[in-house]
Symmetry: C2
């Protein structure tokens, strides 16, 4: 047997049985009740096909790869210029200034969220709870000190820095949030940017769901003054353009992000990516570029609108029945308080047995999610409408 | 300014100006001599287009992504089963047993080489020199203790464990080697596997150039008995199927890789990938699957053969002129000793000025590369033939 040492921090990771446990319970129910139609409102993945303009662009790019004159070898590690420029222009249309040279294209937001720890030292990391598990797990793997910022119904699942004492942190923020759907307004984000500037903290801002924002909420942390001196932003084509199976994302590391110790985070990330990454597939980058074109933005907005109408239907039914919930306005997720003091798993079983609806127990996103439940808008309209009618019968 | 701590190991990285310096010198020469035709034999990237069967498979997959019934969302983090099975079958055809479940598909060998350090602890790392810089840089970033295994003309640039004293290492081996093209035979690799088994070491075997092997050399470390207990293998479609711009690779982490401290490397890598990676683009995986089909293997072999004829022409000319070199037989790289005791950079300038050929000075691959020079076979036949004729006039 090998005598080499491994990264023993992995032993401190919690095993997640969330989705396998859900699968197990659903299978058992279906076997016992083969005549019942089970509707899944637990899906965290898009279901509508890629926009036509994206498909055309990718087909064209694949053809180019088959012809000597237009074949492309290694892509630039930080992304083809055409895509970095398109992303910069996408920000510009929203009134946000992001230089193309500060944009790093990658294969996914999960990769960037996971890999960003490579360039950071031993800091205290502040992670909201409940939240997307990768923030926690990637920091556990690095042996970093983690503090949880517990959120609740009282703050609408939008934590505030007012409870902090000025310590320097690496702060993770996801807005619109996965799983709660809660979304910071300008004032809420400004509090965080101000805190980071005062305390010398770094914000890692996950804006993967920004395309779902409706109304006057910030799409980017760079809409807040000073963010270019304290924040990295990670965004993705996954939910914006249905790229979960196509794989493309980006991270913005502004030139202006400097530490007192004299390091430029942009230089560190550039070196990390040039060393451990070799760029994104050319046809994928052409597809992503097309998604940000005028036509692409229109076609992708139609996909988002479809999901958002589902979200609206779910949210409306919950409101009608007086069930406390967040999300559904700027997010494909609806986060509801389980009725009658049920735990997330108890409510899961109730929904499955009484009305054959599958959702996700809040416990899957950290202890602070206990007693809450996530429904998603990624199903078909027909299923969502039927689910809403069924929900109304038991709430 | 931010007060957060960064990973200060980055400060210990050597800046590499190799390719920018080459670019600068070539530009300066061209400006001074616009009438001269410069031939690039320094390219480390493929130039022939994707095989037709790969293009067809990718086009079909892109079309599927545009139709609701065939659309695919998040891929499995370790690769679609169809591709893991195809890779396992590819090994089987070479007489090597690799279980599909031990295959982890990724976006590139560089990513896997860079990320594998995530699952390892503080070991002493043994890196051959000269070599592909990512082994060194990724370990410098992690602050690991590094020992160089200096290779030379005496050992044909194939280091042997006979100089080691039984210490436990993480050992990097690249065969066929980049940049030297030197390739271990069975006996040579067996020495390493035996050493690893005895010393409790781990071998990280980079077989990215295995498709270029001609003759009875091992294509996989798993051809050597016992390797499944001491070796991870990283391979790529980049050079096998011209995927440098398409992006797909794989890493084999056998179930049987266990440490005395009770860890399974496969479980660690599975957790690392599930946390920090979200799988490879579906159309890319379909293209990769096609490259491993019977037809695909034939078409891709034709690409390799084209480059290998270039390599043969270069190697033949060097032999004719009595220039010591390795590679060119199982590899698209030819590694030659600079004539008359010139340094790599001096020979670079000589070739550029006298015969307008661009190559890569050996110094770019570590100090042990000093006085050597890399030529590559990725140019066109016409250019390579002309370069060979020019070379003969000055050697």
């Amino acid at each position: 047997m090998m005598k080499i040492k491994v990264n023993e921090n992995f032993a401190a990771l919690k095993e997640s049985y969330l989705f396998s446990e859900i699968g197990k319970r659903v299978r058992a129910y279906k076997e016992a009740h083969p005549e019942k139609k089970v509707i899944r409102l637990g899906i965290g993945d898009v279901t509508l096909p890629l926009a036509p303009v994206v498909v055309s662009a990718m087909e064209k790019a694949v053809k180019e790869m088959g012809v000597k004159e237009t074949f492309r070898g290694y892509p630039p590690e930080y992304g083809h210029d055409f895509l970095r420029e398109a992303i910069s222009a996408y920000y510009k249309r929203k009134g946000v200034k992001v230089a193309a040279g500060d944009v790093f294209v990658s294969d996914g937001a999960k990769s960037d969220v996971g890999n960003i720890v490579d360039i950071l030292g031993k800091n205290t990391v502040l992670i909201p709870s409940p939240v997307y598990p990768v923030y926690m797990d990637s920091n556990v793997m690095s042996g970093n000190k983690i503090e949880l910022l517990e959120e609740s119904e009282a703050d609408g699942f939008l934590g505030s820095p007012c409870v902090l004492d000025g310590e320097t942190y690496v702060i993770y923020i996801c807005s619109p949030n996965n799983p709660t759907g809660a979304t910071y307004d300008r004032a809420g984000l400004k509090e965080w940017v101000d805190y980071a500037l005062e305390s010398g903290s770094l914000i890692i801002f996950d804006s993967a769901y920004e395309a779902f924002i409706h109304g006057d909420y910030p799409h980017s942390i760079y809409e807040i003054e000073g963010a270019e001196k304290c924040a990295i932003e990670i965004c993705s084509f996954s939910k914006t353009a249905g790229f979960t199976g196509t794989r493309c994302a980006w991270t913005v590391v502004p030139e202006t992000l400097e530490t007192e110790s004299g390091f430029s985070l942009k230089k560190l990330w550039a070196r990390r990516q040039a060393t451990k990454f070799n760029g994104v597939s050319y046809p994928v980058q052409r597809g992503a570029e097309a998604a940000l074109s005028e036509e692409g933005v229109k076609e992708c907005a139609a996909l988002v609108d479809y999901y958002m109408e589902n979200a609206r239907l779910i949210s409306e039914a919950l409101s009608e029945k007086g069930v406390w919930h967040t999300g559904g306005v700027c997010s494909p997720y609806i986060w509801l308080k389980c009725p009658n003091g049920l735990s997330g798993w108890e409510f899961f079983d109730l929904l499955l047995e009484k009305v054959q609806i599958v959702g996700t127990p809040g416990e899957g996103f950290g202890d602070a999610g206990s007693g809450y439940f996530r429904l998603t808008a990624f199903g078909s309209r027909e299923d969502t409408m039927e689910a809403v009618n069924r929900l109304k019968t038991i709430l």
